[in-house]
Symmetry: C2
Subunit: 355 residues, 2 copies
Amino acid sequence: MGFEQNIRRVEPYVAGEQPEDKDIVKLNTNECPYPPSPALIRRAEQLSMQQLRLYPDMNAGKLVDALAAYYQVRPSQVFAGVGSDDVLSLSFMTFFHSDRPVLFPDVTYSFYDVWAQLHGIPYELCPLDENFCIRREDYLRPNGGIIFPNPNAPTGILESVDTIEEIVRKNQDSVVIIDEAYIDFGGESALPLVDRYENLLIVQTFSKSRALAGLRIGFAIGSEKLIGYLKDVKFSFNSYTLNLPSIELGAAAVADDAYFRETVNKIIRTRERTGAELAQLGFSLTDSRANFLFVSHESVPAAELFAALRQNRIYVRHWNRPRIDNHLRITVGTDEQMERLLAFLKNYLKNRKGV
Amino acid sequence: MGFEQNIRRVEPYVAGEQPEDKDIVKLNTNECPYPPSPALIRRAEQLSMQQLRLYPDMNAGKLVDALAAYYQVRPSQVFAGVGSDDVLSLSFMTFFHSDRPVLFPDVTYSFYDVWAQLHGIPYELCPLDENFCIRREDYLRPNGGIIFPNPNAPTGILESVDTIEEIVRKNQDSVVIIDEAYIDFGGESALPLVDRYENLLIVQTFSKSRALAGLRIGFAIGSEKLIGYLKDVKFSFNSYTLNLPSIELGAAAVADDAYFRETVNKIIRTRERTGAELAQLGFSLTDSRANFLFVSHESVPAAELFAALRQNRIYVRHWNRPRIDNHLRITVGTDEQMERLLAFLKNYLKNRKGV
């Protein structure tokens, strides 16, 4: 049989393309169209590379302290990891250690079922309603844990903090994880609830609103108890993961709140403007509170638009999955990028109707 | 019962201390006492932080290409990860997917049993002989995979490439992983075997010989088949882990071979000189081919020496584990650091005898 009998086979993940060509309008992976904070760039110039010979601080103390100060929690309530994917995968491993199924929406971030399978965790999908909203009663039954993004991906739909609080309050026997990767673009965070509910974990990322996808930083905030368990699991099998540049530059980025707010507000304005224009072109849109739009055209199939855009060097995201296969997810770029998108669509739809 | 019933409990790992105090002689975590390559420092000055807004290349192409060129293999034979702990943990997950036990030495790197337990992999310890050498016949029985470090940790003992080749050749039904974290300090690598044995994986790290513990880079080299499976597993659950600074600066470090050789040779010379002096003080030493010494004193218990050194601000490593609890592992630092260590020991042993 040979050595391949012992090898784990998986279905490879297909990520959004990362083209080298700078001329492509890249609206496919929800990156920030603006550069990181100038404070980070100044810090990078001073960063001593001599220190790289030493292991980094395994607690990522500087970064954790910066986040704790910013979000007004104790450092012992903060856990930092290599992107929110790392934090979420570790959280699945730590908090969903149960024989009962973990609950999450049918239309949601595509790694939840992957991590559940990876860690041998049973799970059940809870179908969103016809408007892609959570039906809160779905989450009020016995379970081994709950997770959903807020705003949801790829719909952009925001649930209220009231809904989240009810779900957290009525699930004292489970850990509830709210994946707030996109919360900074106009949503209300459930963070203030962590001091009242020990079973709530909030996960966020530096990859979107903080323009640092290339540094790989994600973090969780919760009760000291939850963060303690998460650290125990993480340190038990891989102590050093966040590198020195991530810790130092991440901390510098957090400190520059003015730049952060300015960037986020620009993206929100561009999102609203672009959404209004897309509606005029016959698109229906969800009320996205994220840095992307989730759209469906009244007469032209999403797959066709995806291919036409791609041919015109505009990359957006399309999934061949039930319920969302007639939608496109379009990252909010700069105003210039959005104008190129709108100009192309206007022209394409006009000519197509004329055929 | 509450939510804690669903939480995975683990025994927290105790890492070597990372004191902030610069006056401490830090010989406890096998870091390089010399700074990283000047070529890396120059590259860091030019690195554009603007790019950080984008996700990094998930294939770490530049780093993989640099390693492939350096080790004269194809890029498709190289996998890069967040330190060799990340690469090894992923390799356990990918290659030891068997009901038969994985085999490794009883005295070895302390994470092997942790990863086996983490991924639900059965394992059996193979006792080293009385000189801490591998008994190759232990590895010639049915198994689900084989792993050992070469040189071994924390003994520093090197096995010959002939021994490794025999184990690899006689285990065509398993993947054999050689963890070469310390190979650059005078050992002969088994790398040339990867072109003849599809079931062999070599894992190395940038944390020791390349003076980059703070960047977190490890890598594996093997057959295209093994590397392909490893990538599939990794990308299936966390696509982006190595950040932009790691990819760019890691590639720059690999390119500076002259500096690398010079650093490694300095450490080897200091190791040999220090070893000879320790022998004169009544220590017995293994024939270490790593950047550490593994020593035991003829009359003074290791635990006592460890505590006395620590009180004098010299940090080394000691484990309360069977077979090695009367040994110390001492990282090879600069000549100045070693002189401080030797001066203290000389004085301590003289006064103790006199008591």
